[in-house]
Amino acid sequence: MKPWGVLIVGLILGLAAGLLYTWVISPPEYYDTYPPLLDKPYRTDWIEMTVLAYGAEGNWSRTQLRLQGLSEAEIRPIAAAALDQAVAAGRPLVILQRMAKLAAFYGIDTPAVHIYTGADSTVPTPAPTPTAQTIPPTSAPTPTAIPPTNTPFPAPTLTVATPISPALSEFHIVSQTLTCTTTPHIAVSLVLSHTITVRRREEVEWLPLPGREVWLLWEDGADRAVTGFNPEMGPGYADFTVAPGQVYKLYIDVPRGAPLSTIQVEPCTAEEGEGWISRLLVFLTQED
């Protein structure tokens, strides 16, 4: 073998031995690392804590910084599990909503995300329906949600609810969105959880409920609104301007018995600035 051949063989052997040493036997020990270089259990912990912290703080940009460099595929299951655990533990609604918002941002599509982002409800327009034969969106607060038609629907089979139905269960809050505004208001969006059967498969869609009375009662007064008089906000929407500091009891249909919610109009926190907390409450009812 020629001398340069021997040199190259030596070089290759030396390189192999050296790389074995530097990459496998004695890799550099890092300090001053950053979260993506944490060991997997710590990374999981970091992500889970970030999701919980976003629930507590609501600081979007900081959350994005905290998750920078971590893969979405890794974030997704951890965020979904954290939200499910928080729901199961009955954490405050505002925390669940934020966690759901974060989960939705990472493309998580679970029932908890749907409910707490209000994906089907905070923008109270009817969800896209499977075929053209399903319920068209109505913008006026008319008492019927579907226009009369002589053409029978062959398939899919629809169970159509009229806005005032004797067979509806009690309303319950599914989401609450708080905003800081100079003039506080309480807004309500009423939604019906409605099951349709499409080719023998049951699907749930949320429909806004127009024409329903919403009552606010306070110590020495009352106010009433009917859903659907603000079409650009959706047929199930109604709102009230309220007074700072006042405590309100909210009823739907009849202002009797236990209120669905008791709301005090509170000032915004120092972080949010000057103003008062306004709320958008989404109430869901189901067909019995």
Binding site: T22, A53, A89
Partner: protein, 118 residues
């Protein structure tokens, strides 16, 4: 003899090159470090996260377990330093509450504990 010399020179060059590659140019990046090896600002962020997560889940044992991964007394040291720096209540209240629940609150933390009481 000459060939052996060339061989040794080759090996020496190879090893030298490998050290440069393996430790300097392309060091292997293993994701296996612990929170204690995080850069200081990330360690402080880790601390904030522990306190914020504790505020939501109320799991003191877990918070304690997480704190154990950081250098000793991190919670008190960082909280007191941040109090001195005048950081916001939103940052300090959860830290002070966690410290109190771990039985290590200090006089400097008292105002934040009072402010954090609903």
């Amino acid at each position: 003899m000459k060939r052996l010399l060339w061989f040794i020179v080759g090996i020496a060059l190879g090893i030298g090159l490998a050290l440069l590659i393996g430790w300097q140019w392309l060091p292997v990046q293993r994701a296996d470090s612990s929170p204690a090896l995080l850069r200081r600002d990330y360690q402080e962020e880790y601390l904030r996260l522990i306190a914020a997560a504790y505020r939501v889940d109320g799991d003191l044992a877990r918070a304690q377990q997480r704190l154990a991964e950081l250098p000793p007394n991190s919670l008190v040291n960082v909280t007191e330093r941040w109090i001195a720096q005048g950081k916001s209540d939103a940052i300090l209240i959860p830290l002070a509450q966690l410290a109190r629940d771990l039985g290590v609150s200090t006089p400097a933390m008292q105002p934040y504990l009072q402010r954090g009481t609903p």
